[in-house]
């Protein structure tokens, strides 16, 4: 079956109306997963509902407490926003890694998250930054943490007819920065063999007061590794603390061996990435202070 209908609602209420119970429908953000899936025969929606004409879905708004990124805002728009890249350099790194210039021009963080690939680049960065998902559906609105949004490989927590409206990131407190790193054999146009997103807060004395560590492509879903964060909090981010965090992520990883890498390799390298991401975030904090 080919796509029978393409609808482009201009408001959230219209979107809800047209999607109904969601049967045989797919939301379309940038389409860089959906259209590829349709072409490969992996996806077969009768109706495609475009999200890019709905103002809330493409808006990027910043206030004192939070940053709200519309679920269909393109990675390009996020990367060229006047504040987001400096507030969340790690998230920007992740979005900038998606595909190529052509792909970042279309794809969205929301699509990356909803597609729920274990190797999705922006998910560990969103988790590290404590992002929340605002969801609208036939039964009303709800909020879910990103780490709870993905439930399995290519499976998200949305019920049929539900829509991810926006991602809400708390504004990072002073002395906070993040970083994202992935390992791919090529420099670009590749898919993460392992990924690591880290956000840390360091006080004036150099003590780490808060941390979130997330890893990607080493388990069925991206993981928030709290033990790794605990190893960092209270430390001076000395070698022992880093080693403990690295050991924690390696222990949390449950990768598979496949054509992109062996389980042993992924487990090893996710530790390397976490340790380097911590160093990058720490350097960013120091740079902001100096």
């Amino acid at each position: 079956m080919a796509v029978q209908e393409f609808i482009s609602p201009t408001s959230l209420s219209e979107a809800q109306l047209v999607v109904g119970d969601g049967a045989a429908s797919s939301w379309l953000a940038g389409g860089t997963d959906l259209l590829v899936g349709i072409r490969l025969g992996a996806r077969d929606p009768a109706r495609v509902i475009d999200l890019k004409q709905i103002p809330e879905l493409t808006a990027i708004e910043i206030d004192e407490t939070s940053v709200r990124v519309g679920a269909a805002a393109s990675a390009f728009d996020v990367l060229h926003n006047s504040d987001v890249p400096s507030l969340f350099p790690g998230l920007a790194e992740a979005l900038n890694l998606i595909g190529s210039t052509q792909i970042t021009g279309r794809c969205s963080a929301g699509g990356n998250l909803c597609n729920a690939s274990p190797a999705a680049d922006s998910i560990p960065a969103l988790i590290a930054n404590g992002a929340q998902c605002r969801i609208l559906g036939p039964d009303g609105e709800r909020t879910l943490a990103v780490e709870d949004f993905v439930v399995g490989p290519n499976q998200n927590a949305l019920a049929s007819g539900e829509l991810l409206v926006e991602l809400i990131l708390p504004r990072p407190p002073a002395g906070t920065s993040d970083a994202y790193l992935r390992l791919t054999p090529r420099t670009e146009m590749d898919i993460a063999v392992a990924g690591a997103g880290v956000s840390i807060t360091v006080d004036e004395s150099g003590t780490c007061t808060a941390a979130r560590v997330a890893i990607g492509a080493v388990a069925p879903t991206a993981l928030l590794v709290e033990v790794a964060a605990q190893a960092l909090v209270g430390s001076q981010l000395d070698q022992a603390a880093i080693d403990a965090a690295v050991a924690a992520v390696r222990a949390a990883a449950t990768p598979i061996s496949d054509k992109r890498g062996t389980a042993e390799y992924r487990t090893h390298v996710v530790g390397v990435l976490v340790s380097r991401a911590i160093a990058n975030a720490q350097a960013r904090i120091q740079e902001a202070r100096s």
């Binding site: 390992l183 054999p185 090529r186 670009e188 590749d190 054509k259 390799y265 390298v269 390397v272 990435l273």
Partner: protein
């Protein structure tokens, strides 16, 4: 040496005639021809890697509205033992037909089993799904060692290699050559290296997928338009596969988006022709990327055992090379070349080289740039480098001591003419790259490579146009800028501006026979035909001028685009515009079998830095040096050097065919079949060395293939120098490097 000691045009870098159309998207590639009334073909492919087809039922597909034709292997000829072509590039029909469509037995996953044609591509795809094929599935074997094991499933129970008893085997070919007495020569060696090296099966990775369009007329004539490296070969093979007379087939080559040897045969073309005949409508077919990877001919994976012996002072005294190559499902003959050419760079009076090829349930291998030589050279060159280290010599010094030069012979027996290997090594030794310090943490490797370079048949027709312009027709598809080179060579001879010359790749009925653009032969051999046609044109113009001036033709001289005698002259334009009154149209056709070839040699230097924690390798500096004889258009010689180096880098680091247990390819796309992207690469510094080929009027030597030969060993050595661990099995991808470093 030749009449053109002082070149005016040769060696300059004008903009290629086909350049503007290519960068503006106007150039027409294989899939860009559309014909009135055209319908679309779609291939039904086997989901099994090894099976007997028990039935094919196309009735449901044919009953669908808009489906106009179906076909199976029964619509193609049943091959016996006919050979297509002769000498280099000869192929048995029974190895070509099943790569187009199987006939009863499936020997690799995604092999074509039927095809349909319908009024839209979507409908054709749907109809293909409605074709019902039943199979008796057999166990598949994709590994050469397992294929040689006693309990292996046998792919061909009717094929036996020469010299073996007629027993079931997957051994396809076995060839062994010996010069001198290698066994006792090893006794003279102070140092012996004996190691095994391996290279995976890989694909040429041309960006343009196979595509064609076919039309059949009521009188049984057929027209084909396709992207190919040789439309005369397409005509020949299509005729042989379909049983249509060659004379009734006309083939036009489109622009081509890469081939690298992979587009020197047919896959879709005979199917489009049969479907066009059956439906009475023009049929277009375009392969998708997955099928390009799954069902066209990749380059063979190989395992090479190398034993080398040298004296303490670095004299190579004996070599024994054994190469085991994967032929895929049919005989792609990959083993002969390594047997003949493995040792070609070195003075060796005592050597043995053996090649064996093995059938496996994978697509039949096909040519890829210097076919089979990169695989064996990985082993040979790494062993040479290890040997040099053992005797404490610089790797270039060691090679200079042992490199072949004029008068030396290789395993094929004939002595080399004037070759440029030593010159390349000397340029390498003195190059700033080789003399510079290696960066901390990085490593440096170098290696050299050889390719025989082909001559073969070429034709050209030169038509003088009344305004003094010239059209040049050849039958050599232009994959690397050859039209620019043809125009330069004609411009040199005729003395008229490059821009006045209009080179074209003409259809099979418009120009004399040309063999494929392959074997690095086109600039050399087709160029020779163009030079000869231009020389005939000059001779005729001088004759006409002499007649006008009533003097002997011998006293008329040709220079700067005009005939001269005393203070009289007639320009090319004048002779062109007055042709009708001076003897008629000026048209010159030449055809030849070139015997002017010269082998090519190159030396590469590579710096690589391995991230010891992640195992990622970054190529930080790369220099490719090669003897081109004479670079007609240096841009395109450099382009060949750079392109070959890049493909070698891909093969060394990440490219690899990955098959699962069932024999299906796991990475049939550019996401997981990782050719390098631009940001993976440093600038590839290309250095052209010119040691003219004495047999060629302009001194040309083929350049297209040598550059893929040295990269793998150069990179593997650089990785060793960076990590301290010797890797002998490619690709050197991050998991493999980390596993080895953690083991250490």
């Amino acid at each position: 040496m030749n009449a053109y000691q002082e070149f005016k045009m040769i060696g300059s870098r004008p903009v290629r005639p086909d350049g503007l159309d290519k960068v503006t998207g106007r150039a027409r590639y294989g899939a860009d021809l559309n014909m009135q009334g055209q319908i679309y073909g779609h291939v039904v492919r086997s989901p099994h890697a090894h099976a007997v087809i028990t039935s094919i039922d196309c009735s449901k597909a044919l009953a669908m509205d808009g489906v106009l034709a179906v076909m199976t292997g029964d619509d193609l000829v049943k091959p016996g033992n006919e050979m297509l072509g002769s000498g280099e590039g000869a192929m048995a029909l029974k190895d070509v037909v099943p790569m187009v469509m199987s006939q009863g037995k499936v020997l690799f996953h995604a092999q074509a089993v039927a095809a349909v044609a319908a009024t839209s591509p979507e409908l054709a795809a749907e109809a293909a799904r409605a074709v019902e094929v039943t199979y008796d599935v057999l166990p598949a074997v994709t590994d050469v060692h397992k294929a040689l094991a006693a309990d292996a499933p046998i792919l061909h129970n009717d094929r036996f290699p020469d010299g073996y008893p007629e027993e079931p085997t997957n051994l396809a070919t076995h060839i062994s050559l010996t010069v001198g007495d290698p066994d006792s020569a090893f006794d003279k060696a102070d140092v012996v290296i004996e190691q095994t090296y391996s290279v995976p099966m890989c694909h040429q990775g041309y960006i343009e997928p196979h595509a064609c369009a076919a039309r059949a007329d009521a009188a049984g004539r057929v027209e084909l338009w396709c992207c190919t490296q040789g439309h005369f070969t397409v005509r020949h093979y299509t005729a042989a596969v379909t049983g249509i007379d060659m004379g009734k087939i006309k083939v036009t080559a489109s622009e081509i988006g890469g081939g690298f040897g992979g587009k020197t045969t047919v896959y879709l073309e005979p199917l489009a022709v049969v479907l066009a005949q059956k439906s009475g409508r023009p049929v277009k077919m375009v392969m998708d990327r997955g099928d390009v990877f799954r069902a066209t001919g990749p380059a063979p994976g190989a395992e090479t055992k190398v034993k080398l012996g040298a004296t303490r002072d670095g004299k190579l005294v004996a070599a024994d090379v054994e190469c085991l190559m994967d032929s895929g499902a049919y005989n792609g003959n990959p083993a002969g070349i390594p047997a003949f050419m493995a040792t070609a760079c070195y003075k060796l009076t005592d050597a043995r080289s053996t090649g064996r090829s093995v059938y496996t349930n994978k697509p039949k291998i096909h040519a890829y740039r210097a076919p089979s030589i990169p695989q064996v050279t990985l082993g040979f060159e790494l062993a040479i480098t290890e040997l040099a280290a053992e005797v404490g010599m610089d790797p270039i010094e060691f090679r200079l001591l042992n490199a072949v030069e004029e008068g030396d012979a290789n395993m094929m027996g004939a002595p080399y003419n004037r070759i440029g290997l030593r010159e390349c090594l000397e340029v390498a030794r003195n190059h700033d790259h080789y003399k510079s310090a290696v960066a901390d943490g990085a490593g440096r490797g170098m290696a050299m490579g050889y390719w025989i370079n082909a001559g073969m048949q070429s034709s050209a027709t030169l038509n003088v146009i009344a305004d003094g312009h010239v059209s040049i027709l050849t039958g050599s598809p232009d994959i690397g800028g050859s039209r620019a080179s043809m125009a330069l060579m004609a411009s040199e001879v005729l003395g008229i501006p490059f821009e006045h010359i209009h080179p074209q790749v003409a259809a099979t009925d418009a120009v004399g026979h040309c063999d494929v653009t392959g074997g690095s032969r086109t600039t050399l051999a087709t160029g020779q035909a163009v030079i000869q046609a231009a020389e005939q044109c000059v001779a005729e113009m001088c004759r006409r001028a002499a007649a006008e001036w009533e003097v002997e033709p011998g006293v008329v001289a040709w220079s700067q685009g005009a005939a001269h005698y005393g203070d009289q002259s007639l320009t090319f334009e004048e002779l062109a515009s007055r042709a009708g009154a001076m003897g008629g149209p000026l048209t010159f056709s030449t055809s030849l079998t070139s015997t002017s070839t010269a082998p090519g040699f190159g030396v590469h230097i590579c710096d690589a830095e391995v991230d010891k924690e992640t195992g990622r390798t970054t190529i930080t500096r790369y220099t490719a040096i090669q003897d081109a004889g004479k670079a007609i258009h240096p841009d395109y010689v450099e382009g060949q050097l750079q392109g070959g180096a890049v493909q070698g880098i891909g093969w060394a680091l990440n490219e690899e065919y990955l098959y699962n247990e069932e024999g299906a390819l796991e990475n049939p796309g550019f996401l997981d079949y990782r050719i390098p992207v631009a940001s993976d690469l440093p600038f590839i510094d290309a250095v052209i060395v010119e040691v003219p080929n004495p047999l060629h009027p302009f001194g040309v030597k083929g350049v297209g293939e040598v550059p893929i030969v040295p990269p793998m060993p150069a990179i593997a050595e650089a990785v060793y120098q960076s990590t301290g661990v010797r890797f002998r099995d490619l690709p050197l991808n991050p998991p493999k490097i980390v596993a080895a470093l953690l083991d250490n």
